[in-house]
């Protein structure tokens, strides 16, 4: 049985990545490259439990995500053009998997915001985010994905 909201989040995002994009997210066994440029997406929810889910990754991983979702090559212009949209959809779908697990009852209602995205362009931003106590890093085909769950 999972014990914490962070564990629920990790299991949810891993499941969505595997189901929709054939990307396996695992606990890192070795040091992963730190992205110097990338994107953070977040989504807020209110209901029996209220909070925020945040995911961060470098451009390489989100282009891989987009290319797998769209069934195109990672260097295809579509994968680059739609990578942020794909990452927003990942946090949206992750929220969809996570919330039923946080609900007390299947009839519980949550209100969810539209996913928000912003880009970062320094390794320092990544390192600061990883250093917080609510951060979990996953190894996605050798690339890092940062996941955070915040209660509000």
């Amino acid at each position: 049985m999972l014990e914490t909201y962070e564990e629920y989040l990790i299991e949810s995002v891993s499941s969505v990545l595997e189901t929709t994009a054939f990307i396996f997210a695992l606990p890192p066994e070795e040091e992963l490259p730190i992205p110097d440029e990338g994107v953070t997406v977040s989504i807020h929810f209110t209901g029996p439990v209220s909070g925020q889910i945040q995911l961060s990754a470098g451009h390489e991983l989100i282009q891989l995500l987009a290319s797998n979702l769209l069934c195109v090559d990672p260097i295809d212009p579509q994968a680059q053009e739609k990578s942020i949209d794909a990452f927003k959809e990942l946090v949206n779908a992750t929220c969809g998997v996570l919330l039923p697990r946080l609900a007390n009852d299947p009839s519980d209602v949550f209100d969810v915001t539209i996913p928000d995205a912003h880009e970062f362009n320094s390794t320092e931003t990544w390192e600061n985010a990883v250093a917080t106590s609510d951060a979990s890093v996953l190894d996605c085909d050798g690339l890092p994905l940062l996941a955070k769950f915040k209660l509000m």
Binding site: S15, V16, T19, T20, A66, L69, L70, C71, Q78, K82, D85, A86, K88, E89, N92, A93, C95, G96, V97, L99, P100, A103, P106, S107, D108, V109, F110, V112, I114
Partner: protein
């Protein structure tokens, strides 16, 4: 009969995935139209003859719930089957949507097989 299908989702990636998934079904498709929110979808419905709508709920400008209410209360569009494809999992909300007249529901994240099966179920029920 060939189907004109309208995909309504604010995610361009999801619209592309759904379009590809439709190609995996044996439904004879005439045209696939796309809209990024409920308001844009209503514009398409004003101009085109649509036979099936696949719609997200959580969208900017006009969400899928408001769009559904407008479609099912409009004499011109009330018989168009709507399949909602959303992260919504609350049985309360899904029950409300079914009461409003949606014909099918697919939970995100979806697989192409989920989508194909639900579309075939709904289109078969419309055909018969």
């Amino acid at each position: 009969m060939s189907w004109n299908i309208l995909i309504v989702d604010d995610s361009a990636v999801t619209r592309s995935v759904l379009k590809k998934t439709l190609g995996m079904t044996d439904i004879p498709i005439d045209e696939i139209y796309q809209a990024a929110n409920g308001a844009k979808a209503l514009e398409v419905l004003d101009e085109k003859s649509i036979d099936l709508i696949l719609a997200d709920l959580n969208m900017p400008v006009m969400n899928g719930l408001e769009m559904t209410e407008r479609i099912v209360t409009n004499e011109q569009t009330k018989d168009i089957p709507i399949i909602v494809i959303s992260t919504e999992a609350s049985t309360t909300r899904i029950g409300d949507l079914l009461n409003k007249g949606i014909k099918g529901y697919i939970h995100k994240p979806f697989t192409p097989e989920n989508v194909r099966d639900e579309i075939l179920k709904v289109t078969e029920s419309v055909r018969t």
